[in-house]
Every structure is written in structure tokens, then in C-alpha cells.
């Protein structure tokens, strides 16, 4: 039994493992917390894929594997298609009566970083969602190409210093706004699209379970605080994640059937975006005379997005 009683964090954190602690991820890496929470949200068998990125290179280095569930990696852009192909094979063998364990229905899950999801693998994901494979795609969104040393992605937020958009004497770092992947995936008409964060683990598990109960393609965007590239101490992963969700930089919500939007977490005390930015080295250069205006712009953008999400929720579209 993998599925823990989600009432109690202690219980949850000591539940059985299909993702082993023996892996090469940095101490404090949120990827491992998210993956564990996804895997422990179901007792069903799992067929998993990972795109090239930190999760992949740190968990399946021959002759070792951290995965006690079938797992496949092909390349950077095609984790979605790998799982879609496996799902197609499952259907074929089911129809033909050739499944080895015909009484069990495995769940199909692909993991990819934001690089694999927002950028290079987007076409493959879009194809899988349009075709309607019965699968879950989980984006481990650390807003950077962490595995290759911190290059920007289209998820990197304005003002973050990344190695290909470094802050310098005349640059404040990344110039583009983070891509709204949630809206794009919802626009595919996917039956379930949700944004989650590992610090809000009950919310996360509920959404993953909802996703598993949904037939068709499910998209989960999981905020994954990266100690190495965001530049904070490894023991602060959950504290940083709390700042992200409580400042509404990373709002938690779901979109059902491409239209119905529910906000699933409303912080009692909304904290200023400045506090979130100030806790991370990647935004350090914003706290200068020259760049401070960007912090106000950040706050305005977060406020506007929150307002928009609330209007969308009320509209019951």
C-alpha cells in the first residue's frame, strides 16, 4: 500500500516508497518531494516517464535506479510521447487479451522540467493532449534549466538572473514574462489542469488523486523550488515554497474541462512579493536603486493575475 492517509504529515512522509531516497538530487530539491507525493497518491501500479533533466539524470544512473515502478526516459522533449506510446500499448494488449495482469489498471504519468514542458517538449505534450491519451503530465517547474547549469527557460520570471540572461551592469536579467502554461493547457480542453506546490501537500494530493480519477489527459504544474539555481539554503525549500504560495506569486488553482476555474488556496495573510524575491539569490540584483522599480511591477503583475483568477472563478464559465 502506497497511498498514505493524507490526514497526517508524519504518516504521509513515512509511507511506502516507489521512489527511493537513494538518488542524486541536491539535498532540499523539491523535485523529489513532488515525485514522492505524486507516486504516493495512488495504490495503483504506475508506468512512468521522465524527460531529460535533473530528475532523470539523478534517479537512473546505470547500474542503479531509484524507481520501483516501470520507468522510461528517451530524451529531453518526449517524455509525454513515451508515456502516450505505453498507454496505447496498454489499450492494444487489453483489447487483444494479452495483458499479464488484466485485473489491474495502471496509471500513466510523465514528468518533465519546465524546459521539457514550456519549451522544447511543448509540441509533443500538445499532441498527446489533443489526442486525449489517458495520462498525467507533471511539470516540475523550477523556472530554469537546472540540470545544465541554470539557463533561462520560457518559465523563468522577469528579473531572475539565469546563466543565459545574467543580471549585469546594464541588465536586470530575464526580460520576458513567464509563459502562462496553465491557460495554454486548459485551452487544449484537457479535463483537468491544476497548479500545485509541495508545501501545500494536502491540496496537492487531493489534486493528484482527482487527476488520477479523471479519464483523459491531465496536466499538473508543480512549483519546484530549486536550492541551487534559486540560491537559497537547502533546508529552506518549504519556507521558500510557503513564500511563493502566500505571496500569490504561485497561486494554487485548478481548471476543469478547460473552463471551470477553482482557486484552491487563499492565504490568510498575503505577504508582499518583495519578501519572496528577497529570499532568493537569483533576485538579489533587484534590490538596488536602479532595479527596485521592477519589484513594484512584480507586485502589480501578481495582484492583477490574482484578480483575474478570482474573476474567472466567479464567472463560472
Amino acid at each position: 500500500m502506497f497511498q498514505a492517509k493524507t490526514k497526517n504529515l508524519k504518516n504521509f512522509s513515512t509511507s511506502a516508497e516507489r521512489f527511493e531516497g537513494a538518488n542524486l538530487l541536491c539535498p532540499g530539491c523539491a523535485h523529489s518531494i513532488i515525485v514522492r507525493e505524486v507516486l504516493n497518491a495512488t495504490n495503483d501500479n504506475l508506468i512512468l516517464a521522465a524527460s531529460t533533466g535533473c530528475l532523470e539524470v539523478c534517479t537512473a544512473v546505470y547500474p542503479h535506479t531509484s524507481w520501483d515502478a516501470s520507468w522510461i526516459h528517451i530524451g529531453f522533449e518526449n517524455g509525454s510521447s513515451a508515456v502516450a506510446g505505453a498507454e496505447a500499448m496498454y489499450k492494444a494488449l487489453k483489447n487483444k487479451g494479452r495483458l499479464k495482469q488484466p485485473d489491474r489498471t495502471p496509471k500513466f504519468v510523465a514528468f518533465g522540467g519546465d524546459g521539457a514542458t514550456y519549451d522544447i517538449g511543448f509540441q509533443w505534450i500538445s499532441g498527446c493532449f489533443e489526442r486525449g491519451h489517458d495520462m498525467m503530465y507533471v511539470c516540475l517547474d523550477n523556472e530554469v534549466y537546472a540540470n545544465t547549469g541554470g539557463q533561462r527557460s520560457s518559465s523563468t520570471p522577469i528579473g531572475a538572473s539565469a546563466t543565459t540572461t545574467p543580471a549585469g551592469r546594464i541588465s536586470y536579467g530575464e526580460k520576458q514574462n513567464k509563459k502562462d502554461i496553465m491557460a495554454i493547457m486548459a485551452a487544449h480542453g484537457a479535463p483537468y489542469v491544476a497548479q500545485v506546490a509541495p508545501n501545500k501537500w494536502k491540496d496537492m494530493v487531493a489534486k493528484i488523486q482527482k487527476g488520477f480519477a479523471t479519464e483523459g489527459p491531465v496536466f499538473i504544474n508543480a512549483m519546484s523550488a530549486c536550492t541551487t539555481e534559486w540560491k537559497f539554503a537547502p533546508e529552506d525549500t518549504i519556507a521558500i515554497s510557503d513564500l511563493a504560495t502566500d505571496s500569490l506569486v504561485f497561486p494554487l488553482y485548478e481548471i476543469i474541462d478547460g473552463t471551470k476555474l477553482n482557486i484552491t488556496y487563499r492565504p490568510k495573510n498575503v505577504i508582499p512579493v518583495r519578501d519572496y524575491l528577497g529570499a532568493q539569490g537569483r533576485f538579489k540584483h533587484l534590490f538596488t536603486k536602479q532595479n527596485e522599480y521592477l519589484i513594484d511591477e512584480w507586485q502589480a503583475r501578481v495582484d492583477a493575475k490574482w484578480e483575474q483568477l478570482q474573476r474567472r472563478e466567479e464567472a463560472c464559465l
Binding site: 508506468i47 546505470y62 522510461i72 518526449n78 496505447a88 500499448m89 492494444a92 499479464k100 499532441g127
Partner: protein
């Protein structure tokens, strides 16, 4: 259960239709594909079989060739029979995943309907895509006509899925010349064809839920070399004997004889043309005309391009005095790939044969009989002189001034 498709003993099929029926008879579990000229009809034919209940696997209409092969890889790792088709630009887009499929030892059958690769964009047949795949770790089987396209698909499944091999296989046919030219094709009954291929026997299948497996692990300098060496070892040691076994079984079943290296008029040949695809049959006809004039001209057809049968080729060519390697892909800065293979095969064998290289047929340009006659005339002169009487590399069938190198 799929509907029975009534076949005649002899059908009039083009190469695409022949390949499609082989896929149908193989009862492929997952086809994931993307259309591109000239292999599109394979995908369309398969979709038609699907729409009419003649196949009962899954058909994934992917968003690109890269996506198609990625789905094929996932499906194959999950544990079942998988096939697809592509050409040219689509093949090039797939290339990254072709290395994944072979490195992960997944027995996928890919029909490559050979076509030029742009720029300039061109939809016609040459061997650029086939050559692009030659280091990718796949078995590469070459067809000369629609009958071959049917038979070689059956052979490809049988060999590729063998547990001693577990390597993907490409079945090549020439774009349009084979793929769109209808000819008589002798068929096997569905059950006979299926039995020839055999049941799919899964291995390390992700869908065996009690035995989880990790596919596509990372290996660095500590293990990568050993992994690649094993892959090469499997290609080099197991494939040709299994193909021979399949050819023997096919002969027993149908009377049709295929060989690892196809040779024609070669027993006492002084001069030989070595080529691939539809050119083989044209060259055979020209060699017959020369034989009628008392000239000992022969033809060697490459049937298995990977693994390249160096020893068998050296053996059929051992008595020749002059040999021409015909390459249908732009060599872009060196001698043609087939020339290189032959040079490698013949070197150290003690032969004194003169070896020259002809580049022909790029972008679908016809290889004419008069071109072949002229090549044989060069070979005769080389044989008599005992050394090259022409440049080492010549372009044949090219407009404008003669082009030659080395």
C-alpha cells in the same frame, strides 16, 4: 478479432501497399506514424484497415515524426509489436529517437520509403535518408521491388524481435520507383504470414506490473562504452545468421530466394556493379545485354546494408578485376558511402581489383541503361589496364559539364 482480409495469391500492389499488408498480417499492436511523401500511403492504408476493422491494434496519429517514433519507443518498451513508416525530412526529424530505439534494444520495424533530403526540397527517391541512418544502430534491409517490400517486412519483424537480437529494423524501398509502382506480388495467407513472423514475446516489458523495469538509464564514461559495444556485438554476431535462417524459411514456404548479398551473373564476372534499390534490377538487365556480347559483367545488390556483410561481399567480388560502387546520395565532401564500405571489405583480401565510385540518381533522376553501359565500359577499360582509367569518383546522369574527383 480483426476482420479477415481476402487476398488473392497474386495481388497487384505498389511497394507501399505491400508494406501495409505485411503490417496488417503481422498484427502490429501499436502503429504511431506521421505522413510524408512518398511513405504517406502506408500510413493511409493502415488507417483504412483500421477504419474497416481489418486490424485491431492501436493507431496513434502523432503530431510529428519525432513524436511518432517517441510513441513507438514507449509502446515497444511497454511490451508489444510496433511499426511505423517515414521518409526523408521525417526521417531526419526522427533521427535523435532512432538512436534511442536501438540503444534501448527495442524491436521496432520502420519502413523507410527512400527520398532525397532538402535543401533543395525534393520529394523523389534517392538514398540520402537511408544513408543518414547507417550509424544509428538499426538493422537496414533493402528492397528492390514491391514483392521484396512485402517479404522483407515479414523478415524484419521476425529477426528484429528475436530475443538474441532485440534491435530495431528499417525496411527500405525506393520512393516512387518501388513505393508507387504497382507490380505483381505473391502473397501469403494471413495465418501463414503471421506464423512465419511468430508471436510477439515481450521482454523487460513495462506493462509487466509485477516486474518494474527502468528503460533509458544514464551511462557515462564508466558504462557507455560497454553498452555500445554490446549493441554492436549483437548487430555483428547475431543478425546475419538469423536473417539467413529467415531467408531459408521463407524459401521453404514460398520458393522465393533472398540472399544476404544478392549476386547476378557473378560466377565468372570480370567486372561488377554494386548498387542498391531499384538500380539493381536495371543493372541486371544491362549485364545480360553485355553477357550476350561476351562481356563478363555482373551485378551485386546490397540486400542488408546494416550490419554490412563485409565478408560475404568480399567473397562474391573476389574474382573481379574492376568494380564500380554506385552511390545514390550526395557524398558531400568525400567518396560515396558504398565505395567506402567496399574499400573496407576488399582491403587486406589480396584483391587487385580496381574500385571506382559513381554518384547517380540524386533527387529521383533516372538511372538509364545507357549510363550503366557507360559505367561498364569504364570498368572494362580499368580491368584491361589494371588501374583506374578514369577519376575515382564520377557523377553520372548529371546535366552540364562532366563532374569527377580524385
Amino acid at each position: 478479432m480483426a476482420e479477415l482480409f481476402e487476398l488473392h495469391d497474386i495481388e497487384v500492389w505498389d511497394g507501399n501497399m505491400a508494406a501495409s499488408h505485411a503490417l496488417r498480417q503481422a498484427q502490429v499492436d501499436v502503429v504511431a506514424a506521421y505522413p510524408i511523401t512518398p511513405s504517406t500511403p502506408i500510413v493511409e492504408n493502415y488507417a483504412n484497415f483500421m477504419a474497416n476493422g481489418y486490424v485491431d491494434g492501436e493507431f496513434v496519429m502523432a503530431e510529428s515524426e519525432h513524436g511518432a517514433m517517441s510513441c513507438c519507443i514507449g509502446a515497444s518498451a511497454a511490451g508489444g509489436r510496433v511499426a511505423t513508416a517515414t521518409s526523408s525530412q521525417g526521417f531526419a526529424l526522427m533521427l535523435e529517437t532512432l538512436y534511442s530505439a536501438s540503444g534501448m534494444r527495442l524491436p521496432i520495424v520502420l519502413n523507410v520509403v527512400n527520398r532525397a533530403i532538402g535543401a533543395p526540397l525534393n520529394v523523389n527517391g534517392d538514398h540520402s535518408d537511408m544513408y543518414m541512418g547507417r550509424d544509428s544502430g538499426w538493422i537496414q534491409i533493402d528492397c528492390y521491388n514491391p514483392q521484396d517490400a512485402y517479404d522483407m517486412n515479414l523478415v524484419a519483424f521476425r529477426v528484429s524481435e528475436d530475443h538474441d537480437i532485440r534491435l530495431p529494423a528499417m525496411v527500405h524501398q525506393d520512393g516512387f520507383m518501388t513505393s508507387h509502382t504497382a507490380q505483381r506480388v505473391k502473397t501469403l495467407a494471413d495465418d501463414v504470414a503471421y506464423k512465419f513472423i511468430g508471436e510477439f514475446k515481450p521482454m523487460n516489458d513495462m506493462l509487466d506490473l509485477d516486474h518494474p523495469v527502468t528503460h533509458g538509464a544514464q551511462t557515462e564514461e564508466d558504462w557507455h562504452f560497454e553498452h555500445k559495444a554490446r549493441q554492436h556485438h549483437a548487430l555483428m554476431s547475431a543478425v546475419l545468421p538469423k536473417i539467413q535462417e529467415a531467408f531459408d524459411a521463407l524459401k521453404a514456404l514460398t520458393g522465393r530466394q533472398y540472399n544476404i548479398v544478392e549476386s547476378y551473373n557473378m560466377d565468372d564476372a570480370d567486372i561488377a556493379i554494386v548498387c542498391m534499390g531499384t538500380s539493381v534490377e536495371t543493372a541486371e538487365e544491362v549485364s545480360n545485354e553485355l553477357r550476350a556480347q561476351g562481356i563478363k559483367a555482373g551485378v551485386v545488390g546490397i540486400r542488408i546494408f546494416r550490419p554490412f556483410p563485409l565478408e560475404q561481399i568480399a567473397d562474391v567480388l573476389k574474382g573481379c578485376k574492376a568494380i564500380a560502387a554506385l552511390d545514390r546520395s550526395s557524398p558531400n565532401g568525400t567518396v560515396g558511402a558504398l565505395f567506402n564500405e567496399l574499400a573496407g571489405a576488399l582491403f587486406n583480401t589480396g584483391t587487385h581489383a580496381v574500385l571506382t565510385n559513381y554518384i547517380y540518381g540524386l533527387g529521383g533522376r533516372d538511372l538509364t541503361k545507357s549510363s550503366l553501359h557507360s559505367i561498364y565500359r569504364d570498368l572494362q577499360a580499368n580491368a584491361e589496364a589494371g588501374c583506374p582509367t578514369t577519376s575515382l569518383q564520377q557523377f553520372t546522369g548529371l546535366r552540364g559539364p562532366k563532374l569527377s574527383f580524385f
